[in-house]
Structures are given as C-alpha cells and as structure tokens.
Symmetry: C2
Subunit: 762 residues, 2 copies
C-alpha cells in the first residue's frame, strides 16, 4: 500500500498560523488530547490555546439565563484544560531558544499518520551566532492511552557548550476563552485545584480536583536524557508548577535528547488515578522509546488496513481524506465514558460538548471501519439514557427520553433552548445510528441490551410530542431542525421523516425481538404495551411530510416557503457566517439555511419522495444555503451523488474534505471539525460509491467523479471484511475475509464469493 | 358627590400581610413612590420591600445571556430604590415601639383617596404596661411632587415621660430581590453611591449617583416637632445614614407630633438636584402642614370631578374601581421623562419597566379623564423614538422603529427575546393609543409634532417585517402576540389586525396632514415618498387575517388550532401560573393562553369580523385561557359586553376590579397591577357603556349588568366635559361644558345640546 501519510507544513512562527498549527498538529488518541503548542511558550500577546484534555473530564459552571424561565438550564458542563506538561524551555550557553522572536533559518511541522506522531524541526541561530537544530517529536499513544511523550532533540551545529532544559509540569491551568465568539467559552478560570503535588525522586506528580463536578485528574511526568555526557538535574516547585532543570553538556555536531514522559488518569475511570499514572510511567520508561513508537505504528497499520481510503487523480483530496480519517481516530473514545466532541480532543471550540454530529456524521465511519468503536459511542448514549429521560421530563414530557443538544455527561448544557433543546432531531440521529449499527453488524446482543431501549425511549418521545391534526396527519410542532437559521417550527420535514423512521424501526424491532428474555425484562421495566407499539407504527404511517404542490418540493417546515428569500448575492462577504452578524429573529424570518436540512432528509430517507422531487428540493435549497455550518457541504455532496449530480457532488466534496486543512471556515484554530471529517468519508462511501445498508442488506451504486481516476476503501459488513475499488468504467468488490455475500448493485441482486472479486462495468 | 373614598384595613402586623399592605398603602404622585413600610422597621426575617422610587430613575446592570447570540440584549435598566427617609424609631421611656413584636390592642391602615394620604393607627402597650396611641399619616404631594411627608403623632394614654425619635435618612439602600421569581430582580446591590452627604443645620441632605447610568439623586429631610414642651435634638452620621434624634417630654393624654419632610430630585429633570430639594423643603416648611393637606385635597377634588366613577348596587365593586383609578393617578407621569411602569411606583415587580400595558390599558383612562396626562405618556414614547429606531436596526430592520418590549429610557431591556423583542405588537399598541388620543382630543398640534412621526415609523416597521405570500396576502411572521404561552408565530391575528390599523391610519393621516408645514419637514426628514404611503395602504388592505372555516373562528395564529388543547381541568391548582411550572417550549406546544389575544383584537377591531365569528372566538378562547396574566379578565369583560354576553362581562369585570384589593394573583406585594386597573376602567366605560371613539366620532351602547343598579362617570371628549349615567332601563348623557355634540347611540345618530341632557330608554 503506497500512501502519503504525512502532513508537512512550513512553520513561520506567525501568530495567525500558530493556533491553526496547534490544531492541525495536535496529538490525541481518543483519551487524551494535547494541542500542538510551542514547548518554549509564546509572548503573552500571541493568540494561543495551550490545552491538554482528557475525554469526558469536565467541570460544571453557572450559565445564568438573562430571564429565568421555568426549567431553563442554568448551569453547564465544560471540558477542562487538565494540565500543562508541554512546557520545556531550552537555553544553550545561556541563550534562550525562542524561535518566535527570530533567528529561524528553516522550520517545519510534520504530522505522521502512519507512525502516529507530530514533529517540529527548527534550525535556529542565537543572537551570538550559535546555531542549533531542534527536532521535537510528540506522541499520544494509541495503546498506552494515558501516555504522552515529547522527544526533544538538540544538535549543536557550530559550537560546544551546555544545553539547559527547564521542563515544567503545571497542575493548575486556565481554559481558553473568547468573549466575542459564542462558540467559545467567555470566561476562563482554573477549573482544577491542586489537591496534592510534588516530586517522587525525579518524577513530578499532581492530583487536582474540580470544585463542582468532583472530577479528579492525576498527572505525572518524568525525563530521560540521552547524551554522551553526564547530565545534571535539579527539581523545584513554584506554586503549582513543578520544574525539572536539566543541564547537559553539548558538543558541536552532537545530538542530545531529552525524553519527557507524561501520564494522565482521571477519577471517572480509575479509583486511584495517582497510582495509575505512576504505574503507566514506570511501565513506559522500562521500555525503549523505540518500542513505544513501534507499537504506535503497528496500531495504525491495523487501522489503515481497515479504513485506508485511497483516491487517485487528485493527490490533495487523497491527503485531505487521510488527514480527516486520522483525526476521527484521534477523537474516538475507547470506552463508554465519553462521546465525540464537536472538535474531538483538538481544541476547546463548543467547550468539548457532544452534539448530534457524532451519531449522524462520525458513527457511520466507525461502523464501516471499526464497529467496536461505534459501539463505544452508542454505549455512551445508552449510559446517558437516564439523563435523557430527566431532560424530557424537564421539558414537560410524561414519557420517553430526549437526548440533550449538547453535553458531556448526558445533562443538557444548551443555554438557548430554541436552537438547543428544541432540536429534538438529535433523538432521530441517535436512533438512526443505532439502527445503522445494527443493520451493518447484526449485533443483536447490543440491541437487546442497549439499542432497543434507546429506540423505544426515543420513539416514546415522538409519541409524546406529536399530535394528530384535523386531517389525521401525525404532526410534530415547535421543534428546531438541523438548520438553526429557523427555530421552533412546525413539521420540520427532516425531523418528521427521522421520527417516522425511529418509530417504525422501534416497533418493528420490538416485535421481532420480543420473545427474547432480555427484551421481556425490558418491556416489563419500561411498561411497554402492545397498544403502545401499535400506536408507534400508526404514527409512523400517518406522519405528515410537508410537500409543496406549486414548487414540487418538500418545504423545510410548514411556513418556510412563505418567508421571503434572503438575498445572498447582496450580502457582503464579511457578513458570513450570518449568525455572527444578524439577530436570530431576523434570520428566522427568511428563507436562508445555515446547513442542509431537507437535503439531508432526502439522503437518509430517499424512499419517501420521487427522484424528481428530491432533485427539485436539492436545487431549491442549494440556492438558499450558506453552508455556515461545517456539517453542510458533505451532505450536499452525498445527496448530489445520489441524484446523479456528479459535478456538484465533487465540488461539495472538495469543500468538505479540505475544510480544516485549508482552514476554510477560519476557525480551525479552535479545533478540527470532526463531524465534517466523518461527512467527508460519507461523501465518498455513501455518496460516490452509493453504499447503503438497509433491511434489504448491502447495496452499492458506485461512480468515479470526473477528475478523479480511481478510489478504493476497505469496509466491514456483518462480520466480513470487504474492499471496494472504483475506477472510471469499472467497480470491483473483494471479499477479504468472511462469508460469501449477497448484495445489490443498483437494483440488481449480486453475489460475491470467496474465490474471486465481483467486477462490474460502469 | 357622596362617595366612599377610603380604604380601611385592619393591621395585624402579620408577615404575609405586611408586604401586601406596603403596596396597598403606598404613597405616590407620579413622580415619587414610597412603599408603605413600617417606620420602625421589621425583623430581618420578615419579608419587606422597603423602597422609595423616582419615576424614571434607573441604573444599568449586566444581563448576561446564557448564549451570546448576535445583537442580543446584554444589559438592562432597573428602577432603583433611591433612599430611605421612612425610618423613624420611637421609644417611650426607653421602651422601643415595635408593634410587630406584640402589644397591639388595636391597629388599622387607611388610604384616603379624597384627601390623598395614608394613615396607620396603632394602640400599643409596652412590656412595662405603658400605652400609647400612634397615628402616622403619610403623603406624597400631588402638586409639590418632590415632597413626601410623615406626620407622626404619639399620644400617651396612661403615663408621663419622654418620647425619643430616631429619624433616619439612609442614602445608600439596596433594591429588593427574589432569585426564585423571574418577575423580580435576582440581585440587589446598592445602585446609588453617595457623592455628598451631611447636615445643614437641622436638615440632612445626600446626593448619590449611579455608576453606569450616571443618574444623580438628591434627597433632603427636616423635622418639625409639635409639642407643648420643649424638645431637644441631636444629629449624627453613621456611614451613609444620617440620624436625627429628637427627645420630647410627653404627658398623659397629650399628643406630641413629629413632622418629617423629605424632598427628592434627580439629575434627569434638574440641573442642580441638591439646590432643588433644599428649595422644596424650605418652601414646604414655610407653610403649615394643613395648607399642604388642603392643596392635596383640592387637587384630588379636581381629579374626581373629571374621573369619578360611581357604581351603585355593589359597594365592593364601587370601592374597587375607585381604588384602581386612584392608583392610576398615583402612577401617572407629570412630564415626558417616564412612562407608567407595570407596577406604577408601588413596587419593584418587573423592575420598574414600562410595557405595552401603558398604551393599551392605561392611556385610555387618561384620554377620557385628563388628556394632558395621556399626552405626557405619549410624549415619552416620542422622546424614545430614536431608541426604538436603534432597536429595530439591531433586529435587522432597514427602516422603521420597534419599541422595546420593556424599558425605562427607551432601550430594550428584555432578556428573552422570543417573548420580549419579538412582541412587535407593542408598536401596534402605541400607534393605537396615539390614534385614540387624536380621535378623542382633536389635538392636531400633537399629531403634526409627534404623533404622526410615531405612526409612520411604526408603520414602516410593519412594512419591513411583513411580506406578501404566494396568494398575495400580506403576512407577518415570527412575532409573538399578547399571549406569551405561544411565541414566534406566523400571522398572529391580533398583531396582523393592529398592524393593518396602524398602516391604514398612518397613511390616511399623512395624506390628510401632508400640506402642513411641520409635516412637510417631517416627510423630508424621514424621506417619505408617496409610493411608500400607497404601499402602506395596500399592505393594510391585503393584510392576512387567519380564519378557520371549520371552527368558524379566527385562529390565534397560523398553526394554533393544530396544537392539542391543554387540559386545564386536569391541571393541579398549584400549577398556576403555568409559566412558573412548565418549560416554555412545553407551553408553546399547546392551545393554552396566558391572556386575551384574539379576544382583545375582536374588541379593538370589531369591524373585521361578524358578531357570530367573534362570539365563537370568544367562547373558544375562553375555554383555553388561564388568565395567568393580569391583563386578561378585563379584556374578556369588555369583549363580552360588546357581544351582549352580560353575565360573563360582569363576572370577568369583578375578577379584574378586585385583583389587587383581594390580592387575587397573590403577588400584589410586588406592586399593583396598573394595566389591569386601567382595564377595569375600560371594562365599564368601553364595555358596559359601549363607549367608543372612532373616525365617525363618539358612540355609546350602554347597559347595566344584572346585579348593579346604576353607574355614572364623567369624561372628556374633544374639548367637552360630559357625564354618562346608566341605570337599569335608562341612559343619560349630560354636556357639562363645551360645544353641542353629535354622537351615535348604537347605530342611531343623536344630538346633545347645552340645555338638557340626552336620555334614552334602554
């Protein structure tokens, strides 16, 4: 497999690029995330988000409502910056290495996605003319998930002397804040307060705890010096900062290396986090670093074997997709204690909250590449079902569960309910993901133990929300669809369609599994009656899906098409994203979409409308969508593919694929757009390749967009490992492992055996 | 004129009654308001809102939004508690008069509405058996509006000794707060900081200033002792409290009296507030107190001559109406520097904000009783037109003015825009009041100088908000009508109807007055074109007024009737008002009304629908209205009258009339419900008497509800003074002064000359 798995960027030490690079070159492994900040620090007037995070570690902070209406959310959870173990200041012969202030002749950054590290190399000349080459390699380890390493190598190019490292472990750090951006926190105290800190021989350790959530975080660091000469070390404490000073003689053309190990553990997962970090450090330091690098590489080789997408004909797209898929892995939780945040573990945008993005955009990737990770994410939703029931009750529902719009532990953290809690479609997204997982894996055990309960409780919420109108149509009122530029509407097409799907599948699956002992117990626990199940089916059948005769399209909601169309052509470029420049009430009054809404419904539920209607809808919404949300272009791409609009599909795909690499929304500095990355994968797999999994099984309908010559990807399906290769004029499906397969190519039934690949002229 | 103008209540010194009495027995004159708190204070665990207010005196405080969406209001104005000049502690022979702790054999409170004072009388026995009678009379003077007096009389009933008064002037006081009630402030610092304080001979003075709004308040107090013996006085300062101690020998059966004068002035109205208060005190103290009482009485005699409503057949109702009308006078501003707050000057409920209540419910009373006070209120709206334009711009409008939902100076102070700024109907209410004022007074000068500009700018807002739908109907979307249990709806019937009225009258009046020089200047200033005026007329003609064929009623909005009907019968009594017990999103999803909405539209714009439709609407909405708002029952009463539903009209009227006197909403402690008081007046005048003023002139259609025998009221109409008396079977209209009058009795044209009253058998 010949792939380019490296992202290389010149490092100009420019303020504007630095925080972008912090995101692009962050290290994460689904448990810890470390922003790619400069070890040596930056001047105080430089923008930087110097953060290290643990998946699911949070504090509870007040979120006062301007008017305290009944049951509004008045506190929220926020992802905490847990520590700073990145800081390493270097001096050579008394001159401090501060490349940001000048003296750089050559510098770059690398993200190696096959080896699983980032690297910064800088050739730097001090004011007295001493030249050093510094190479810093960082790794968040995928198998030893508590471990973060920095391998700091210094080469003296034209002098002999001494290198001094001041390596810090700061146990109380503040979160980033920007009061001018509603997508970021606007206050930033230190959420963790140190409970215990100190040195145990050369090893620094700290235990810190949040005040409200009671989450405890333990961190330990230690160092190894690789040098021909003897080094000298000294430790000291300054407040909550633990500093290790290392003096190392250095000779011309000699390389000396400092390896800094940092381990992290939390009280959510560990009963004794401190003991755990000590153990992790001891284990890690008992092995050569090369061993850890090797294990990392093996892990990624496995990952690539199951997931590596290759695109030929456009190297930039190929790189972008690989980058995106790597980022998804970095964000994927290894247990059921967290979901996937909007920015993964790469930054503090949206305060580390999990949204519907996870299920709708990211879970599909894991279902097809590593179903066990998909199950982790869905298990997190199962674990938070009690909180979702409480949330539903707060909103006045007598039955059912409503998943929170944004959360860390399952408790609603949305401060503005019209575009928060009112987005009931998150229930639909979670149900859809559970169903997709089930259809793709046949994991009945998961369904009887967790999935069915999620489906039934979300279905109940629709039953408790909807109402039959005078024409006998089942209507859902006062909800917000995916497009947040219109809020609290009646009969949002997307919401109604996904509610119908949820209701229908919940009732069907219950009927199918109700003989199962676990399901009998579930039915007793939930007090499910046959009538309730029949009512769900009836509501699904009667679900109102608005259709406009005159335009021949599905209106986004009951009144959408009666509003004036926003004049996008006359809107100054600086006015985007509109949400930062227009009062929400103003936005609500126009036909203007932040993102795909009805268009996403068409993609997910194509059987509900004719192709003609969906194409008209696509064309209609395309003209009024700003794509101010990063969740939009990928959906437009996959729907375009479905409708045979190949040129549009490729263009939207490109927008989506390169969003972070090209910083297209100018906010990648706050973290990567995880959902879009998943959407980009879907645009190829579900879009170009037309891969779908339904109750009828697997079907494909592949094509290669003009401009690309070929793409291929492996995927998992019901215990099998498969690989689809699509070229101009030909598609090939290989069974790599598992049982022979019946599948659909377009409307045709096909079979794939173990002996030879299935091929098809296109 | 034989009327009962006294409200008398037993004073039990019960915690629960105390803050209710603070409201009922407050003193106000449209400029200052002083809660009827106990001079001697209450224990700290007693609920009390110890407040003194100046109309329009405010501070600006932060109002953080839970999510900072674009252009949301992030600070608000709040009415400030300006000072405490009420505190007078009394000891007799070293025993402190603290009736709240016991020893009371007899106590009552009086509000005398003909004399304009409140009085508290207490017969109290000290623990050593000394008995005193204390009579405290308080007055906020209607002509010397800066003046508040306390006449404190002590009679020793069974001993000789010494009375000691500690009379305080506290210049820094906190506002009341209740974090559990969204209708009250939830924080309460001292908003005024003392700039200057001290004594000038016996006179205490203070000047204090707010930090943000820069409002300066000056207060001065002084004392006069009436006693046969010589008294002894001593002054001292404790922090920002200025204390005057007066020792007065007292003999058995002798009455001694302390008169405390307090004067208030502010920097909104005065360039040198301190000089002003000193002057007011000097002037007031140069006259006998009896003189000031006399002037007060004369003022009220005038007021009663113009406004005194008399109801025979139900003394309780008669009392209630008189109380309500007196309270309206207490709230009425004497200049254009303030409006009328939801609670007048009687308490801190709704933080002293002015709402649409003023124009829709209170202005009608003043138009008919003292048009100059009505003009003051409308002039305040004219003065705040620039702020309303800015508010419209914040909400994305290119033209027009949107009055703030709640404000003190004209700046929007609503924290939750879906039931705040989105209530565009406030524009309709202000326009309606301007039109009513004009039609009732013929005050063309006001219209050319102020009124027309208000009408045009509010009309422009409708033009900028509304849009023609595909059927060519002019639609107004995403607004909130009077009923806040449904928010951000399309084509709220009430809003559309009042917008049409506003548009039609603005264009008509402009056409009528456009030859006037002032109007020409206005047209140039506003860049009004003939096309714009024609467009307004066209929009008014095309205004969409939803009508439901099946039910034969006007739906409250486009989707209202498709929602399920809230089961009021099954709602526990403790769950009212619903807004305190249900999440707003839950309320929005049901047919349930906080208050009259379409029913009010029917009353205001009866020509838009047939009587049958309006009656069906009335019956329909009656069943789903909780009257959780105090603005509701009065409207149901007047609409019932209009529809000939006499029994209902009387029942709703009774609910409305006694709301505060009987503390029916259990929140009169926070202040009186000013709008309801105006509505109660309207329920008689516009309801029972069917009095209306339209472009066709005055019309009446009176009846006497069963159970009442007679009612009469004077009123002003186009320079005339009239009096209508309605008995069972007969109506009489008298011309007290002014020119002969043509008017309508039902559909018949009638004439009223100077010589004899018009009478009519009913």
């Amino acid at each position: 497999m010949q792939i380019n798995a490296r992202l290389v960027r010149k490092e100009n030490y420019e303020p504007k690029e630095l925080n972008l690079h912090e995101t692009l070159f962050h290290n994460a492994n689904g448990y810890i995330g470390i922003r790619g900040t400069l070890e040596e620090g930056v001047p105080t007037d430089y923008p930087t988000m110097r953060g290290q995070y643990i998946a699911g570690a949070y504090e509870i902070i007040p979120m006062k409502q301007a008017e305290s209406l009944c049951n509004l959310v008045e506190k929220k959870q926020t992802m905490i910056n847990v520590c700073d173990t990145q800081t390493i200041r270097l001096s050579v012969n008394g001159e401090e290495f501060l490349p940001i202030k000048g003296g750089v002749s050559e510098a770059n950054r690398i993200l190696d996605m096959a080896e699983g590290y980032t690297e910064r190399t800088t050739v730097w000349t001090s004011s007295s003319g001493r030249v050093i080459r510094v190479r810093i390699r960082r790794m968040a380890h995928f198998t030893v998930k508590e471990l973060f390493t920095i391998e700091y190598e210094v080469e003296a190019l034209n002098f002999n002397g001494e290198a001094v490292f001041d390596s810090s472990h700061v146990s109380e750090v503040a979160n980033y804040s920007d009061p001018d951006d509603p997508r970021l926190a606007d206050e930033s105290p230190c959420y963790l307060k140190t409970v215990e800190q100190g040195f145990s021989e050369s090893r620094s350790f700290s235990v810190a705890k949040t005040e409200k959530s009671g989450v405890c975080v333990a961190v330990a660091t230690d160092h190894v010096v690789l040098s021909d000469s003897r080094s000298d070390s000294m430790i000291r404490e300054e407040g909550t900062t633990l500093i290790t000073r290392l003096r190392i003689p250095i000779k011309q053309n000699e390389k000396i290396t400092l390896i800094k190990y940092a381990a992290f553990a939390d009280s959510i997962r560990e009963t004794d986090p401190k003991a755990r970090v000590m153990q992790v450090l001891s284990d890690a330091m008992s092995r050569p670093l090369a061993d850890l690098y090797g294990e990392q590489k093996n892990y990624l080789a496995q990952f690539l074997a199951h997931s590596c997408m290759q695109i030929e004909g456009d190297a930039e797209l190929d790189d972008a997709v690989r980058f995106n898929m790597y980022q998804l892995l970095c964000a994927a939780p290894h247990d059921a204690h967290s979901g996937i945040a909007a920015k993964g573990l790469s930054g503090e945008g949206y305060e580390g909250h999990f949204f519907w993005d996870t299920e709708m955009y990211v879970v599909p990737f894991f279902i097809l590449t590593d179903p066990s990770l998909a199950r982790n994410i869905l298990s997190f939703r199962y674990a938070t079902l009690p909180a979702a029931r409480e949330n539903a009750a707060l909103l006045g529902h007598k039955k059912g569960a409503l998943y929170p719009w944004r959360t860390i532990t399952g408790v609603e953290c949305s401060g503005y309910f019209p575009s928060g809690s009112a987005a009931y479609h998150i229930n639909g997204a979670i149900a859809y993901a559970v169903i997709q997982y089930y259809l793709s894996t046949d994991d009945t055990a998961f369904m009887t133990r967790m999935g069915l309960e999620i489906l039934l409780e979300t279905a109940r919420l629709w039953m408790d929300t909807g109402v039959y109108d005078r024409q006998g149509r089942f209507c859902i009122q006062e909800v917000t669809g995916p497009d947040e530029y219109t809020c609290m509407v009646n009969n949002n097409y997307y919401t109604n369609a996904s509610a119908a799907y949820n209701l229908r599948f919940a009732s069907k699956l219950y009927e199918r599994l109700k003989g199962d002992e676990a399901v009998k117990q579930l039915a007793a626990k939930l007090q499910i009656t046959d009538k309730e199940i029949a009512d769900m089916q009836k509501a699904a059948d009667a679900m109102y899906l608005p259709y406009d005769e005159e335009y021949g399209i599905n209106p986004q909601d009951d009144s959408f098409l009666e509003k004036p169309v926003w004049d996008l052509a006359a809107t100054p470029k600086d006015d985007y994203p509109l949400l930062l420049h227009y009062h929400p009430l103003h936005l609500y009054r126009y036909q203007v979409c932040k993102q795909a809404d009805t268009v996403l419904a068409h993609f997910l539920f194509p059987d509900l409308q004719s192709v003609q209607t969906m194409e008209k809808s696509f064309r209609y919404y395309e003209k009024i969508t700003t794509h101010d949300s990063s969740l939009s272009t990928c959906v437009f791409s996959m729907t375009a593919s479905m409708l045979g609009l190949k040129e549009e599909a490729l263009a939207y795909f490109g927008d989506s694929a390169k969003l972070d690499l090209l910083n297209r929304h100018e906010n990648t500095k706050d973290g990567v757009h995880t959902a879009n990355m998943g959407g980009c994968y879907m645009a190829i797999v579900n879009g170009f390749a037309g891969l779908r999994v339904t109750e009828d099984g697997l079907s494909i309908n592949p094509y290669v967009p003009e401009g690309l010559s070929r793409y291929s990807f492996p995927f998992a399906y019901r215990g099998r490992s498969l690989k689809l290769t699509v070229e101009q004029g030909r598609a090939t499906l290989e069974l790599i492992s598992g049982e022979p397969l019946r599948f659909h190519f377009r409307d045709r039934k096909e079979e794939l055996g173990k002996e030879e690949p299935w091929t098809q002229k296109l």
